[in-house]
């Protein structure tokens, strides 16, 4: 039985903001299925009594003094932007037609 269907891959692509063609979906469905089948082994040893580690270091809540420092100028920050208008990033519409 496959771990992941083509429809699920299409859903993942939407969540991931990847506009994939139909043939790509088929290709990735097969590959992701193989990978997921192989990595699912982790469940064999992950028993309830083992605490999860999200990180290699026991660091939590790292703070530094809240001091004002020099930062990028608007020109520097916008220098690599695909589109700029009035010292701002110009982006395509973010609301629906009827909004």
């Amino acid at each position: 039985m496959s771990a992941i269907t083509r429809d699920e891959v299409a859903h993942l692509a939407r969540l991931s903001r990847l506009a994939l063609a139909d043939d790509e979906l088929d290709h990735y469905a097969t590959q992701l299925d193989d990978i997921i089948a192989a990595v699912a082994r982790v469940a064999e040893v992950a028993t309830d009594d083992i605490p999860p580690s999200s990180h290699a270091l026991p660091l939590t809540n790292v703070y530094r003094p809240d001091e004002a420092r020099r930062s990028l100028t608007p020109q520097q920050a916008l220098a690599a932007a695909p589109a700029v208008e009035d010292d701002r990033f110009r982006v395509p519409r973010i609301l629906g037609e009827e909004a």
């Binding site: 997921i36 040893v45 999860p52 290699a56 690599a80 395509p92």
Partner: protein
Amino acid sequence: MSLTRKTAAELGALIASGEVSAVEVTQAHLDRVAEVDPRVNAFLHVAAESALEQARSVDARRAAGEELGPLAGVPIAHKDVFTTKDMPTTAGSKILEGYRPPYDATVTARLREAGLVILGKTNLDEFAMGSSTENSAYGPTRNPWDLDRIPGGSSGGSSAAVASYQAPLSTGTDTGGSIRQPAAVTGIVGMKPTYGGSSRYGLIAFASSLDTPGPFARNVLDAALLHEAFSGHDVMDSTSIHEEVPPVVEAARRGDVAGLRVGVVKEFGGEGYQPGVINRFREAVDLLESLGAKVVEVSCPSFTYALPAYYLIAPSEASSNLARFDGMRYGLRVGDDGTRSAEEVMALTRAAGFGPEVKRRIMLGTYALSSGYYDAYYGSAQKVRTLIARDFEAAFHQVDVLVSPTTPTTAFPIGERADDPMAMYLADLCTIPANLAGNAAISVPCGLAEEDGLPVGLQIMAPVLGDDRCYRVGAAVEKAFEDRWGGPLLKEAPSL
């Protein structure tokens, strides 16, 4: 002897004493790049002008009587995943083609402060995802030992540049083996420092809990000098550690193993390992014993689960980290014709800008983090991470360092695993545990496999903050092998 054949330590001393100028050294390396890189493709960008400018500044400072650091004027190749404000930074991706960052990474800034001369930016698997450098959007880098084979990855441009004498030093980043594996398959030294020991600020993020900048060099001492030059606490990286940089240069100069307890990881060897790799590894273990180390076998049973855990954790973090490449503030933007919404433009941009491996990993990570699958996949992988740290802890009660082959095989032919992700992932089998637990680990050359005459690496793993032990053992092994071989392993490489 040609300047490009010298070690970084030798070049630094020659420049400091005034025997040669930094400009001469830099020009010799730029000439070498022009001569061999059309065949190797290690560099994505060569910064001849700014390199010569930095070299002139080092020469001027020396002439003014300023005391220079050990690497001032020494050329370096810089992995194109660190931001550089005067050079393009692409991470090997089309989505960042031509991108010029407005700031320097901390590692970049520290290279400049040490007077190192950045020759240019090196090729890599896109966003450092891969083990062969074939996933670069700018074509594969070739292994100087055999131009039809991979130089390892993801830092394959950096390993190939050093192995082909285009630079004595280079930088890399190691998330699952991306420094140690390319070092092993090109016959050079590569070190993954303790996690948090080198700054991630300005390193384009792949998997933030694993990414670690580290050095490549043709010998252990040079690697230690570079390690020391760019490591240490950085206020701009919240996971940077406060502890002093371990005494890596002193350890590299010392290089002895008498009385040291060395553990051979029982789980790494056997099926899937090339016989020549196993043979060279066994010889290295015998050598350590002959040098006075106490060798024992150590079992780390959870290490066999490290690879599957990594391929859940790293893609999960990547799926989140790479969300920033949306075509809105920098980089590629596709399909913005006035009719499409921002969301549609993002999806078209990312589909056009990311290569297949990056897309695979983003979707895999999105899957592992989805509601309903999270506990079974990402949650379980995090538990395996705990088990691996416990295995290391138990092992380091018995021994001072652990050893294994760095990779199961030597460099494979370009194209062989390109469309078989699981086969590609196996290249990192032995290197991943140290990333999951944050340990220090190094790869040093230990000979050529008899089947194909290609280099084999010995991996030496030490506890967190035990970076100096990697250099101490690495230097001892290097010295003994070079005595046996009559020089460095790299002298066996074909001349390009």
